[in-house]
């Protein structure tokens, strides 16, 4: 065979092999670089009593209460096997707080999910340090075990054991809080969903859930009734809320008065002209203190 022909054959074969390989590699490169599109709501139980999104230091935290067991979903900057240094699993923009005493980490498997049990830490202090929020039902001095698991190196879910179990179950069984996402505003300081489970607001008027949206200048409370609000019902509600300093929704209490009240279909909107720094009164309704 002539050397020139042989060279041409070698080049042609090489090009014929390299081009499809490069195209295939590019295809896989796209797959590798496709960002993992995980939604934190997928890891929050759908039947949570409360779901709150809190913006702090440009980080978004998702707090949920599943039957008085609290959990928090947060972005994580990195993922390493947890060690005695609890800061290793600290979510970006926060830390595990002041945990100077002995902390041990135990690894467990729940439903094929690797869960780290961080022993002897205080969930209340973690919440305080991450989202500057304390939950009234958690004792500030209550040292307990915090359970933590990771979602695709992107989010960390941590909280009390029942909350973590519920979170894993919610994800596995598609019983998640995705349906609640439209009711929460992720771009403002704080947005809260609270399940009212058909609670009677006024005689004959019952509510499914309420949402609270706190911005820099005002707080908007929307109560979603079971049925459309009639004009006479709105008048009754206006009187009730305008004069009340203290309104009660079952376990909730509202320590505010004189809102601007309006309604649309089954939603009663109460607008309070208070800034986000004055929202403690609103959060008292949800047993949350900022």
């Amino acid at each position: 065979m002539k050397p020139l022909i042989l060279k041409l054959i070698i080049i042609l074969v090489a090009v014929a092999l390299i081009v499809p390989t490069a195209l295939m590699a590019y295809d896989y490169y796209q797959k590798v670089n496709t960002p993992i599109n995980k939604n934190p709501f997928d890891y929050i139980p759908g039947n949570s009593n409360m779901v709150a999104t809190i913006n702090k230091n440009n980080s978004l935290f998702y707090v949920f209460d599943d039957n008085n067991s609290y959990g928090i979903v947060a972005n994580i900057s990195y993922n390493i096997v947890p060690s005695n240094s609890t800061t290793i699993l600290a979510p970006s923009g926060g830390s595990f707080g002041n945990v100077s005493h002995n902390v041990t980490v135990k690894t467990l498997i729940y439903d094929k999910t690797e869960v780290y049990e961080v022993q002897n830490v205080n969930l209340s202090s973690i919440l305080k340090s991450t989202v500057n929020t304390t939950l009234g039902s958690l004792s500030a001095n209550n040292t307990t075990n915090v359970f933590v698991y990771l979602i695709s190196n992107k989010y960390v879910v941590m909280g009390q054991e029942n909350a973590i179990n519920a979170s894993i179950y919610a994800h596995m069984n598609n019983n998640n809080a995705m349906k609640l996402e439209p009711y929460l505003n992720l771009n403002i300081n704080t947005s809260i969903y609270y399940n009212l489970s058909g609670l009677s607001v006024l005689s004959g008027i019952s509510a499914k859930f309420l949402t609270v949206n706190v911005t820099q200048n005002q707080s908007l409370l929307n109560i979603y009734m079971n049925s459309k609000i009639m004009p006479y019902e709105l008048e009754l509600l206006k009187i009730a809320f305008a004069n009340a300093n203290y309104s009660s929704f079952g376990n909730l209490s509202l320590n505010l008065s004189h809102p601007q009240i309006s309604s649309h279909n089954n939603v009663l909107s109460l607008k309070y002209n208070i800034s986000s720094s004055q929202t403690e009164a609103v959060f008292k309704t949800l047993n949350i203190k900022t």
């Binding site: 050397p3 042989l6 060279k7 070698i10 080049i11 074969v13 090489a14 092999l17 390299i18 390989t21 490069a22 295939m24 590699a25 896989y28 490169y29 797959k31 590798v32 990195y78 993922n79 390493i80 096997v81 947890p82 060690s83 005695n84 240094s85 041990t104 980490v105 135990k106 690894t107 498997i109 690797e114 190196n153």
Partner: protein, 272 residues
Amino acid sequence: MSKFSTVYLQYVKNYYRSRSFYLMLLLISIISIMMIYFSFKYINNFPKFLGSSSIPITIKEALFYFLWTLILLYVPVFSAVFFGSPAISSEIENKTAYFIFPLPINRYKLYIGKFLAAFTVSFIIMIIYLIVEVGTLSYLFHSLPTIYFYYSLLLLIIFILTMTSVTFMISAIFNKNTYAYITVLLIYYIVFYAGSFIIELLYKIDPIYLLSDAASIIERAYMNINTADFFSTPSISPAPFADIIFSALIMVIYFIASFAIGLILFERKEVS
């Protein structure tokens, strides 16, 4: 075919009898003994070393395989340098080309035969290490290797083929062994390794197209931690399958390109 197998077997015999082979054998034996010692010493202490009181056995096993595999990112490079770098240049330097080139055998058969012989001896060296690795870790963890071991093995074979091919190509450029040795090491450790670091540092881009970066998949098949990349996000999970295929394809591209260039250069090679 008989000519090709004669060439192949003759060069395997040559490599097998060479000092390079025994040097690599000695090197891999020392590394194997050190790794056995390391594994037995730290099998129960490792979790404390990492700072955790308990690590699941599956993660611990993956971690040990990962650490053993770290060696396989470097030894194939030296093996390729020892067996591949002088492959063509030595024929010119030692003037053996005067006898070999006029033989009634196609140059490409000579090149491929020698290439496969170099690959075979390199692979034999690695197989010795892998047998020790599997034996030690199977004994310590009472289980056979997982699927990730086989992924890693396949990727290692591709890496050895690629490195051998790159060294053969460089060897076909030079007429002196020393130049070939130095150039391969410079290309791999300065252009690829240091280049990767500088590109990431300056441009915040992961140069996934560099051979050293693609080769890291051999260890990342167990845990997605790139020990040569200071900027990537580490994960204890194995690298995603798409990442494995992508890195393998990058190595294959290097292999085909360098093999074709090496073959053309060898065809043009003249004994002066």
